[in-house]
């Protein structure tokens, strides 16, 4: 197997995303939905001091058995181009999600369905559904700095890490709690450590840093524009920046979200994917 083949699978050459440095590939996509789920009923109990596990449990509890629907705008900036996509999304429980592109027109109707560990893409232009092979898991999702694997991993944070509170106090303009999370011994994650900084007031995240096994910073995700949406306060803007390419970024802005609506499983079928 020579270099050609290997390059296909190396982080340096996902579907055209040569500009992503390998280190920054593994995304903290967990927090895309984590953010959503924190809000899925995050009723921070004021005055109660929660342990790290409690915080995590709260998150996962809130995550479980709930659903969501919304619209978001994703802007991707790379060394060679800049793109903005308008997306519509549905999610149910821990392992079903459907995301559809609304604009630009050229890609309208393109959709990604995730169920459990499997991912399918629908391509309206050719009217075909493709199931992503395992070799494409580390490839970029929709051209962003998130990977397909991140989409799959979003529900497993509590399963894969054990966290403890390492700092409480002032920081970033308010009182924060910092959780240091180390992957469990058998967890299939390549990171060495993940740092989550949440606001002490409502346990909403401010920034999440990923470190590789050598504990060097690899990626950083910041949360901003805290606003009330559908009855909950949540950060409406997520910014993902690879540490080695600080001028590149993927910015996700939530325009609208609804929670706990009743969603039929049919929504997450391949047939619906093709609409």
């Amino acid at each position: 197997m020579n270099d050609d083949a290997r390059k296909i699978f190396s982080g340096k050459s996902k579907i055209g995303s040569k500009h992503f440095h390998s280190i920054g590939r593994r995304a903290i996509l967990i927090f895309l939905p984590l953010a959503i789920f924190i809000l899925l009923g995050a009723h921070p109990v004021r005055g109660e001091t929660l342990t790290a596990d409690d915080i995590l449990n709260k998150v996962d509890d809130l995550y479980r058995g709930t659903s969501s629907y919304g619209m978001m705008t994703m802007e991707v900036v790379t060394a060679h181009w800049k793109r903005t996509l308008s997306l519509e999304f549905w999610s149910k429980g821990k392992d079903k999600s459907l995301i559809r592109i609304l604009s630009p027109l050229k890609e309208k109707g393109t959709a990604t369905l995730r169920a459990g560990n499997e991912i399918w893409n629908y391509l309206p232009k050719v009217n075909r559904v493709i199931k992503l092979p395992s070799s494409m898991m580390s490839a970029s999702w929709m051209g962003s700095h998130f990977t397909n694997d991140d989409l799959v991993k979003e529900s497993r944070f509590a399963d894969d890490y054990s966290c403890r509170i390492t700092f409480q106090g002032p920081g970033k303009g308010e009182n924060v709690i910092e959780l240091s999370c180390i992957p469990l011994p058998d967890a299939p994650v390549v990171w060495g450590k993940v740092e989550i900084v949440v606001r002490q007031s409502d346990y909403l995240p401010i920034v999440i840093n990923y470190y590789d096994e050598g504990l060097r910073p690899a990626r950083s995700m910041t949360f901003s524009k805290f606003a009330k949406m559908s009855g909950r306060t949540l950060p409406a803007v997520l910014t993902l920046v690879p540490v080695d390419k600080p001028r590149e970024k993927t910015v996700v802005v939530y325009d609208k979200i609804t929670f706990d609506l009743s969603l039929n499983n049919e929504v997450f079928s391949i047939r619906n994917l093709q609409k």
């Binding site: 290997r6 395992s134 070799s135 580390s138 694997d149 799959v152 058998d186 990171w191």
Partner: protein, 408 residues
């Protein structure tokens, strides 16, 4: 009586006899030496190849060769293995679970070939186990451990103990991701191997790919002597009742290696043949000259009443003696040289400083010869035969000796 005459006759012109015999001997020495060396190289390549992969004989799913996939497996392997190991010519029977996947580290992702192996068996046999340069090879009790090549380790920036997440599709087509840690790093010298193969314990591989306890992708049979391949294959085929298992020789599993050997052998033969032609000319020349030189001698003998037949017989015997002399010397010296090469080996590192890979297998720079008895028989035979044919040709000249002319 004729023998004695012939024998003494050849020693009368010592130089000519020695030169002729030496030419024959030299040709044989070269032929034997280079053929033995080539065979040694081939054997080493085949040996490494079959021990690292699926044996001299491989048992696998009939559809596997066409399009390798993890769901094309064979079952009941323990029973089959037990029965195969009972065959005397079999050295070892190894199980393999083989799949394609992606190895992920913090630094990147690379497509890899994942080999689930039995550490106990591999430690004894596999070149990979032998070529560990850092850490150690897999052990029976290991679970989430992996050994990989130096090239791959460099690409993924991995050191001992570092994490790798293997991403692949299991036998049911589902996506699976499993963590394991680097236990050892090997260097075979071939980028294709060092950058592409990773090995994990068989039981862990079963878990990853979702195979049952008695299933595997391949069962490889390693033979004590490669020549036993056809009879052992027959025996296995006749006893195997399971229609879903195909028994294949390594030549079909590693066709590139087989091709390379075939081509190289042919070119070797062609060159030996050409060399042989050159030597034949020399011998022909020598014989011609000697007949010419000794015309006077023959004329005298004929004039004295020696029957032509006897003279021819004497000449023929002389050729036989010289030929045998040369042959024995050549076979013995050539055999000794080849044998020495077989035992001690020759380091050809100066010819290939970075090492050489043949079809993806790294050739060790030290070559050992392989001496096989048939080589002696047919090289010696051909040379002797040619020698005698030539002398028969030459002898026709004897008839043409005009006594009167010569004895003038």
């Amino acid at each position: 009586m004729i023998f004695r005459v012939a024998w003494r006759s050849i020693w009368r012109n010592r130089r000519r006899t020695l030169i002729t015999a030496a030419s024959i001997a030299l040709g044989l020495i070269i032929a034997i030496f280079f053929i033995a060396m080539a065979e040694g190289v081939y054997e080493q390549i085949v040996n490494d190849g079959v021990r690292m992969q699926a044996g001299h004989i491989t048992l696998e799913n009939p559809d596997y060769q066409m399009a390798p996939a993890i769901d094309l497996r064979i079952g009941d392997v323990e029973n089959i293995r037990k029965f195969i190991k009972k065959i005397e010519a079999v050295e070892e029977a190894k199980l393999l679970i083989w799949g394609q996947g992606v190895a992920n580290s913090g630094a990147g992702a690379v497509g890899v070939s994942i080999m689930g192996v039995e550490p106990a068996v591999e430690t004894k046999n596999s070149p990979l186990a032998r070529d560990i340069v850092a850490g150690s090879y897999l052990a029976e009790e290991d679970d989430r451990k992996v050994v990989l090549g130096e090239h791959l380790a460099k690409e993924l920036k991995l050191g001992l103990g570092n994490k790798i997440v293997i991403t692949t599709n299991n036998a049911r087509g589902e996506l699976v991701e499993e963590l394991c840690r680097v236990k050892g790093i090997f260097r075979t010298g071939s980028d294709e191997i060092d950058g592409y193969f990773i090995q994990i314990p068989l039981n862990f591989a079963r878990k990853v790919f979702g195979l049952q306890a008695d299933e595997a992708t391949q069962l490889g049979v390693i033979l004590k002597r490669p020549q036993d391949q056809p009879p052992v294959m027959e025996e296995i085929k006749s006893t195997l009742t399971n229609k879903n298992i195909e028994v294949l020789p390594w030549q079909q599993i590693l066709p590139e290696v087989a091709s390379y050997i075939r081509i190289d052998r042919v070119s070797n033969w062609v060159f030996q043949g050409l060399l042989f032609v050159i030597i034949l000319f020399t011998i022909l020349n020598t014989l011609l000259m000697s007949v010419m030189e000794r015309e006077r001698e023959f004329a005298v003998l004929l004039a004295l009443g020696t029957p032509v037949r006897k003279l021819k017989g004497q000449l023929f015997l002389e050729s036989v003696f010289i030929g045998c002399l040369g042959c024995f010397a050549g076979l013995i010296l050539g055999g000794l040289a080849a044998f020495a090469l077989q035992i001690r080996g020759l380091d050809l590192a100066f010819l290939m400083p970075e090492g050489v890979t043949i079809s993806g297998f790294a050739m060790s720079t030290t070559v050992h010869a392989l001496v096989t008895p048939p080589v002696f028989l047919w090289t010696g035979g051909i040379v002797l035969g040619a020698m005698l044919l030539l002398s028969l040709l030459i002898m026709r000249r004897i008839k043409k000796i005009s006594l009167a002319e010569t004895l003038r």
